[in-house]
């Protein structure tokens, strides 16, 4: 179990000081697949570097299984890293890279050899094991980096965007493989990604970060369906933000319609902003009847599995409705310029904290 207690990291001093992490608190459970998700520069790599021990925190502490490890050197922490830039040793072969950690731990030769062989098989690099790491492709390097970090069987594996250089097919394969590995080995994974879909499919819990702070921690379902902040909602999936009025556990949209909602802590009755996911909006051509919201279709975008309608409400607000495509189309979807009637699925409306 990793506990990060109000970890703050400030780079530079005086005028040039930059707060890359601001009082971050996280507890990661043993054998959890924990994902850090956030835009570029939000401090994901910095947080990993604090856990690995490459960088001391400006303030705060890091504990592993109850012990304070804040002062331990990287070599003393049972933590391995898959670096964002791989950081493979260019003067060693693929197999040499994978063996390095095991050799440093003083494992006997035959154990090193068998673990290396197993790792090579795992990342499908058996054929290239004698190549230099400068002579393999980016995706192959990424796999070697993964194998190298896994080989010593650490308690915690830190993965900094480990799949970003892989093509879609290999990426999906490696996602499943990683998930299986994490399950079988009992290693805690702290995984960094830009890719929201990857985060949602792989993680036990996700921490969404922005500007050096964690905005929300939760399982994928909570993060996607009950984001607490506008930033989180916007960062993950597609969103409609609508103005509404909250009163006694119900919201009334400016565009019409009243819905039961769960009210997050600290939100008082009055004007609020609510989230409505496009796939929770249904649309049909024609005039709005009772319980429906009137709208006009601006554009229709076909994207294979679904069609997205871009609509305008009478209030001037814009709404997207994403509708799954029926086989061969059913012709009932409104066309551009049509007036449409929208229905909102029950429980689809989330009140945002800001």
């Amino acid at each position: 179990m990793i506990e990060i207690e109000s970890a703050t990291k400030v780079f530079g001093t005086g005028e040039a000081a930059f707060r890359a992490l601001n009082a971050v608190n996280v507890t990661i459970a043993e054998n959890e697949f924990f994902t850090l998700l956030g835009p570029s520069g939000c401090g994901k790599t910095t947080l990993l570097r604090l856990i690995a021990g490459f960088e001391p925190p400006t303030m705060g502490a890091i504990k592993l299984a109850g012990d304070d490890i804040t002062r331990l050197r990287p070599a003393e922490r049972p933590v391995n890293t898959v670096f964002q830039n791989y950081a493979l040793f260019p003067h060693m072969s693929v197999a040499g890279n994978i063996a390095f950690g095991l050799e440093m731990l003083g494992k006997p030769k035959d154990e090193v050899d068998s673990t290396v062989a197993e790792m090579l098989r795992l990342v499908k690099m058996e054929e290239l094991k004698d190549r230099r790491t400068s002579e393999i492709s980016g995706g192959q390097q990424q796999r070697v980096a993964l194998a190298r970090a896994l080989a010593p069987h650490p308690k915690v594996l830190l993965l900094d965007e480990p799949l970003s250089a892989l093509d879609l097919k290999l990426r999906k394969e490696m996602q499943i493989e990683l998930k299986r590995l994490q399950h079988e080995t009992g290693i805690t994974f702290v995984f960094v990604t830009h890719d929201q879909e990857e985060a949602l499919t792989m993680s036990d819990r996700i921490a969404v970060m922005n500007g050096g702070e964690i905005l929300q921690i939760g399982n994928p379902k909570e993060i996607y369906e009950r984001p607490s902040a506008r930033f989180v909602a916007n960062f993950i999936g597609e969103s409609n933000f609508l103005d509404a009025t909250l009163k006694g556990g119900q919201v009334t949209l400016a565009a019409g319609g009243t819905f039961d909602v769960s009210v997050p802590d600290g939100v008082a009755d009055g004007a609020v902003s609510v989230l409505l996911r496009p796939e929770h909006v249904a649309a049909r051509a024609g005039a709005a009847q009772d319980g429906e919201i009137a709208a006009t279709v601006d554009t229709v975008v076909y994207s294979g599995e679904a069609t997205t309608l871009h609509l305008s409400l009478p209030t001037g607000e814009k709404v997207k409705a994403k509708i799954g495509n029926a086989p061969l189309g059913d012709g009932s979807l409104p066309k551009e310029g049509d007036s449409a009637a929208l229905t909102v699925a029950t429980g689809a409306i989330t009140v945002l904290r800001d």
Partner: protein
Amino acid sequence: MAETQTYQPGELEAEARAADNRSRWLLSLPAVVIITCAAAGPLLVMVLYSFLTPGDYGNVKWQFSLDGWTNIFVQRDIFDDTLIWADAHLSIFWRSLSLSLITTILTLLFGVPTAWFIATQPANRRQFWLFLVTVPFWTNLLVRTIAIQELIRSEGVINLALMKVGLIDEPIQMMFTDFAIGFGMTYVYLPLMVLPVYASVDKLDFRLVEAAHDLYAGRWTAFRRVILPLIKPGIIAGSILVFIPSLGAYVTPRVLGGGKNLMFGNLIELQFGAGRNWPLGAALSLMLMLAVMVALIWYVRVTSREQADG
């Protein structure tokens, strides 16, 4: 419609390569001319002289002789005309070799940490430190060597200071010893080690060092297994830059070693001066060059095999 031109496979690549070659030759022309005039020419003269007969007042007589070369190894006894081994030459060669090796090792010991220190400074301060390293080049070598003499001679700064604080009663004899030569040469050649090593440490990706620590390597192991192999090119370049000129060093051994502690450079100079044996001098120079070449070729062989082995 324009007709589509068809090419032989590889034709375009060959053309590009040829054009590339041409422009490279053109660019290297000045260097080629200078090297031919300044290095190859004099070298030919030396080869020629080494096979001639010494003139009476220096210079050479145009008369073929192998004496220049045989005299490296054997000399004719002045009294009974028998051939005896030229021990002096061999022992001087050996001294030069060992002093040069020691100089190289010392410059490595002092130079690598210095280069590391400079390369790990913040970028804006590195220029300053590098500048300090190059300051000695501003002063003439002879002047600097004489300054060292001022430090280590019997009434010099070091001895006076040590006697003043009472650590020693009598001055330590440092001038005219091998220590003086080694000290002086280490000082003179240190920048030649620091600069190439600095260049390779500067290129070193420190994230690799982090990766080594992450994989449980201690400081020393990380140095030996990751840092050293990666800065090896700089260390090798530095060692070559120090070792080769050390072998032929002339000014420093002359000033600090005195007349007795000759090195190979002084031996050669002797033949062209008081010894009046230009062919022997030429042969000695060429032999030194051959020795260096053999060492370098052997070295290149070994390292390229190492590279191939992975």
